[in-house]
Amino acid sequence: MPDAGLPLLAVRGLNTWYGESHVLHGVDFDVHAGEVVTLLGRNGAGKTTTLKSIMGMVSRRAGSVRLEGIELIGWPSNRIARLGIAICPEERGIFASLNVEENLLLPPQVRPGGLGVSAIFDLFPNLGERLRSQGTKLSGGEQQMLAIGRILRTGARLLLLDEPTEGLAPVIVQQIGATIRRLKAEGFTILLVEQNFRFAATVADRHYVMEHGRVVDVVANEALEASMDRLHAYLGV
């Protein structure tokens, strides 16, 4: 298990609203440095909103989000990013008016120690061959690799990945799984949103289960087999 000291990311009593609708009702969880942690849950449980709230991409939130003890609530997202958090959004967010290279180089470096461009092509060889293509002309899998690859350059240590396997072919899902394990080995900390807990089980240390805008359970990856019935009940699969 990772160190039991101060967590890298500590979320306490996080509440978020979209206009009048109250989406998160007090989310609590921790992510320690070097861990891969997933948020599991059905559609609408608040997983994506949790990632966006950590990143500061929602208009109204309350509670506490601390990165190494620094309180992030109330900060604009560009300042939060500069502390070393990067997001790979669910819709991937590849820009149509930019080519692959421009998409890859878009996020500014926030800290030293990010992967070099050649290391990213090492992970995702397809990207290197299509640098001049329009970003959105790539296949779904390639777009996902581009969306992950571009945040590895920035030097961010905490990566927020929102359903990176959604809608992709099994062989691509395996490749993304291998990438996540390799990133973990290189010391990245990853908070992963997943619907597919079979995939999550192959990469993660711990799983938080979300329901109706709260974290309702936590399962260590080793205990996953034993907790299958419980998870099935939560996720309705």
Partner: protein, 244 residues
Amino acid sequence: MMGAFVAWYLLQYLGLGYWPALLVAPIVIGLFGVALERLLLKRLYGLDHLYGLLLTFGLALIIQGLFRNRFGSSGLPYAIPSQLAGGHNLGFMFLPNYRGWVIVFSLAVCLGTWYVIERTKLGSYLRAATENPALVQAFGVNVPRMITLTYGFGVALAALAGVLAAPIYQVNPLMGADLIIVVFAVVVIGGMGSIMGSIVTGFLLGIVEGLTKVFYPEASNTVIFVVMALVLLVRPAGLFGRAP
């Protein structure tokens, strides 16, 4: 229009001629644009674009009215700089030197702007932020500041156009308003969001309008809108626009 008036003020009260005005007027008016964006426009971003249009159109009418109240609408003369006086006979037509300069200089500014937006890192931020500002900001880019500066730059370009136009049209409170409808037509024909489209269309339409003035003067005011209607029939996204 304000750019032209700044040039006129500079000459009248500070003795600064055309060349310094080409630099100073865009800076002064650009800063005015920045203040406008910070104080007023910024508050409207959460709303429908229509409110922004209403606000800026209203402001334009007010500012225009104030200038008209002060200067009347007959226009103040602004001399062509002595270096560009005269003209050349090109054989088929007579080209005043100043007009030639405006064409060359404005082409250079257009291509420079196009290069910055399409080929530089700053331009990739601008294009990306047009598509998805929230995500660009979440990568660590100060998008609100970028919007303010971009707006200021756009306003400065308009002021630059005002200074360029001053010796041709005279300095007149209505010189901007006369152009605005044509500018809308240029953007629609070129294709929304396409810089190159606006540049090419702007120059082409200028030529079309000029030729119409020579061969069939009665139609010179309408020809642009006829072209716009035809283009919209054939290519609703504009000549260079990407289909939505």
